[in-house]
Amino acid sequence: MVLAVVGMAFLVLPLAGLLVRAPWSTMPERLAEPQVLEALRLSLVTATIATAVCLVLGVPLAWLLARVSFPGRRLVRALVTIPLVLPPVVGGVALLLVLGRRGLVGQWLESAFGISLPFTTAGVVVAEAFVAMPFLVISVEGALRAADLRYEEAAATLGASRWVVFRRVTMPLIAPGIVAGAVLCWARALGEFGATITFAGNFPGRTQTMPLAVYLALETEPDAAIVLSLLLLLVSVAILAGLRDRWVTSA
């Protein structure tokens, strides 16, 4: 009982501290600072694009893992979930080695298309997507496994091709799983720090997302860091509330 209370306090107190120490009087001005708005805008945009990328690539991947049996499937599933447990900094280093200017793929990207990802906004999206995609894949794969295959059979007997079955039956049936996965993925992308700073750097307006701005501000201007942190906390709570409503209504 005591331990439970200590545990709860451990989780809740720091957040309460944020609220207590927040410079409420100067809050409006601080929030209106161009640097803050710029970081917020960049975070929201990159996290959203990263989530879109994860959806486009992750849903088919989840479908493959859940529905197609091929040799080495378990290995692929294990590999896909590595970014989940990998320290994000390591992910950033790995991305640099592969997609960096001298990287295996990066070299070719630069010479063939003139595309260079590191230290660009696109690089932020890549770093966020790399770290966040497993959340989406796992969530969607779970939904696919739980979905009743017989609905897909019924659709096939009505003349639906594999693609039509997927689009008009499978997708709507697993929609709650996709939404939950996308929200988790987006939240993870929004909070991404390690891989982003390693792969994309910390350039205000270009690659400096909210978490990076918080870290930087903490050294020079602690009050600004608190304001930015509160903003992120607010977004997280909003997501949580949204997700709960989702789950409650779909249950």
């Binding site: 007997t157 003349g159 639906a160 091709s161």
Partner: protein, 355 residues
């Protein structure tokens, strides 16, 4: 699909199938044939392979061997979505995220109809099954009987040449079942393609089908018109289904020997035969009745249970039999389980036929 495309070949859908499905501990090997407008019932106990046969016809379970021909063309080489079939699944499998109307419109949409045309077709089908006012309902808002009718409309809306029904009435309560059964019978009467109906309920089969195919352990054990099957069962399963006592014996003129019991029958017949009689034809006595020793045997009462208005007495002895007697007779004879009684059957109520 346009009218001109639909009309040719609409005359005589004929199904000829030899279905072989091999599983590690099960083998289905049956032949089926159905003419245009004919309803074939696949009847059998659980695990007999009825649903496997239906899934094989639909293409949901691959054939290990055999063939399926529909309208003279090979069906088994086509993928599920290209087969001209309609399937009503046991629990209907209506898409939960679509309205009743869009469920029915799903098939026509897949066949290339515009959204507008597909919905119009679907509306007409819902009207035919009497559910026009439920078009906007989601499946979870429908009662069991309504869901069944939507599922039937959905299967028929693709204008199938072969209609497959998997236990279409099993999920309904007794009262609804009665009404839906007679509705289903009307719709099947209007359908001009071949219908295969899977059921374990003999009454459904008798009411809905023109021809029964009884399957046990993956093989056909008996087939024929429902009345014929009901009158002349050839396996214990069928006999139980239709409520008859059934024995295998050897006939010599008007006498059939079943183990130690000798029956008099009205048929002139020789050789191996089946002999069947209804439980209501069995009379019970506490003491040996006078007269002929034929059609008479001594038995032990295994159990007594209520059966409709009567009482069914299960008898063990030289032959296992069921006897239906009135509650008054049970009281008069003071029958209890474990008792020894004499059982007798009238010759005119037995029926012997070649095995």
């Amino acid at each position: 699909m346009s009218e001109s495309e639909r009309d040719p070949g609409r005359g005589l859908p004929q199904l000829r199938a030899h279905l072989v499905v091999e599983r590690p501990r099960f083998r289905l090997d049956i032949e089926l044939a159905a003419d245009a407008g004919q309803v074939i019932a696949l009847l059998g106990p659980n695990g007999a392979g009825k649903t496997t046969a239906l899934r094989a016809l639909a293409g949901l379970t691959p054939l290990s061997g055999g063939h399926i021909t529909l309208d003279g063309g090979a069906l088994h080489t086509l993928p599920v979505e290209r087969r001209p079939i309609g399937v009503v699944f046991q629990d209907y499998l209506l898409f939960p995220h679509l309205s009743a109307l869009d469920n029915v419109a799903f098939g026509p949409r897949c066949q290339g109809a515009s959204k507008h045309d597909a919905r119009r077709t679907a509306g007409a089908w819902l009207e035919r099954v009497g559910l026009a006012e439920h078009a906007a309902d989601r499946p979870r808002q429908l009662s069991g009987g309504q869901a069944q009718r939507v599922a039937l409309a959905r299967a028929l809306a693709v204008e199938p040449r072969l209609l497959l029904l998997d236990e279409p009435l099993a999920a309904l309560d007794a009262h609804t079942r009665l009404e839906i059964r007679s509705r289903l019978r009307r719709h099947l009467g209007d359908f001009d393609g071949a219908t295969i109906l899977v059921t374990h309920d003999p009454l459904d089969a008798m009411v809905l089908a023109d021809h029964l195919v009884v399957i046990e352990n993956g093989a056909v054990v008996q087939q024929g018109p429902p009345a014929e099957v009901a009158r002349r069962p050839r396996t214990d399963y069928v006999a139980r289904l239709v409520g008859l006592n059934l024995y295998r014996g050897v006939a010599d003129e008007q006498q059939v020997t079943v183990g130690d019991v000798i029956f008099s029958v009205t048929e002139r017949i020789h050789g191996p035969v089946f002999i069947a009689f209804p439980p209501s034809a069995v009379a019970l006595f506490r003491t040996r009745p006078d007269g002929t020793p034929r059609n008479l045997w001594q038995a032990r009462i295994e159990g007594i249970e209520r059966h409709g208005d009567n009482v069914r007495v299960h008898l063990e002895g030289p032959i296992t039999a069921a006897a239906d007697i009135t509650p008054a007779a049970v009281a008069d004879l003071d029958l209890t389980a474990g008792q020894q009684v004499w059982a007798a059957v009238k010759a005119t109520e037995t029926h012997a036929y070649p095995a």
